[in-house]
Structures are given as structure tokens and as C-alpha cells.
Amino acid sequence: MKIHLTSVFVDDQTKALHFYTEILGFVKKHDVPVGETDRWLTVVSPDEPGGTELLLEPAGHPAAKTYRDTLVTDGIPLAQFAVDDVKAEYERLSGLGVRFTQEPLEMGPVTTAVFDDTCGNLIQIATQPQ
């Protein structure tokens, strides 16, 4: 068994696609209309085009709002992405106007930071020991 797809709920898929590609730097993999307004919309890392896909899923279900709002209040990220250098990525994203709820934090061998994806979620970036 492999993890080939994971998902985050997003408020607006068009806005999410912009943020996840233009700001974060992922590339669009699939974009298929589903129903009247929704899309099956996934992105992947340019470093791993065949790697795990991230589904930008419409947050239409009423339960999604309570779930996400509560997590955001407590600063809890819904997904984690690996980066080579958390501090460099923090500087780059801050320069693009991205709001961080946790600035880079060194905890032993792991460094993390948490930012708002502007689509209703907090995302953690982490540098893991090699």
C-alpha cells in the first residue's frame, strides 16, 4: 500500500490553485470538472512529478468549517511539507506576503514553521535531519 494522494479542504479552488502553484511552487497535475462547480484538482512537487498528489478539495461540507476554524484558532497545521531550509523558505514566503503563525523554530534536529495558506488552513514546513 502507498500513500499517493492526500488532501486539504480549500475555500476557493481557483484561489487555492494560485497559492499552491504561484506562491508555494507546486505544479498542477489533474484538473477535472466534477459536478457543476467543483473540480478534481491536484498539485505535485516539481521535484517529484510522479510523487504524492495533494488534492485541493472544496470545503463545501458544513462540518469542514467548524473543523478548520477550530484548528486554525489553536494554530494546528493540517499538512506538512518538507523543505531544504525552513528559514530561507520563511524569508521567501514572507516576502510574498504569506502570513506565518509560527516563525521558524529549532527543536533539536527539526526546524519547523507554520503559515496560513489563505484558503482556510495552516500548513507546516519542516526541515528534517538528513
Binding site: 476554524d69 486554525v72 484558532t73 489553536d74 494554530g75 494546528i76 497545521p77 503563525t101 509560527q102 516563525e103 523554530l105 527543536m107 533539536g108 527539526v110 519547523t112 507554520v114 496560513d116 495552516l122
Partner: protein, 100 residues
């Protein structure tokens, strides 16, 4: 008020939380939990951390603020001055004046 303050300071985990907030103010609950578990190897639930934060807040040592959808925790050292004033205030200029 004084009882709340000393009760809040009596617990080592709560003192560690204050240490971490002194290092960086404006932390989310998530960051406080991460620091306790990753930096201090404290196996403590998020609910338990929330309870510690409530005790610190009741003692006036911690303040929370909402910023949009986020909630941040800040250290407030003002109550600690009560301790200084209670026992140390008369002492601060003492040693010099007492010098023969």
C-alpha cells in the same frame, strides 16, 4: 490574586511554558505544545497544556489575543513585580546605604 500567582508558579511545567514564552511572545497553542514535547520531552496532552495556560491566565501571567482567525499567547510579567515589591522593594537601595 497572590494565591493564584504562587499556585501558577508552583508547577514546573507552567514555569517551562513561561520560559518558552519569554523566549518568543505570541505563540499559538500548537507552538507551545510543540516546544514542550520537542524541546523538553514532556509527554503532555493538548488538553493538559490548555489547563496550564488557563491557570497562568488566571494568575495574570499570560494574556491571549485574537488576531483574525488566530489566537496567540503572550507573557505578562507584571504580576511578578508584586513578588519583588513584597520582599525586595525595601532592599534594593539597602546595601549601598548600609555601607559604612
Amino acid at each position: 490574586m497572590a494565591d493564584d500567582l504562587f499556585k501558577a508558579l508552583a508547577d514546573p511545567t507552567r514555569r517551562t511554558i513561561l520560559d518558552e514564552l519569554a523566549e518568543r511572545s505570541g505563540q499559538t497553542l500548537f507552538e507551545i505544545c510543540a516546544r514542550l514535547s520537542m524541546k523538553h520531552q514532556l509527554g503532555i496532552s493538548r488538553q493538559a497544556v490548555s489547563q496550564h495556560l488557563a491557570v497562568l491566565e488566571a494568575a495574570g501571567l499570560l494574556e491571549t489575543r485574537r488576531e483574525g482567525r488566530y489566537k496567540f499567547h503572550d507573557l505578562n510579567t507584571a504580576p511578578l513585580r508584586q513578588i519583588a515589591e513584597r520582599w525586595l522593594a525595601t532592599d534594593t537601595s539597602g546595601p549601598e546605604e548600609n555601607t559604612p
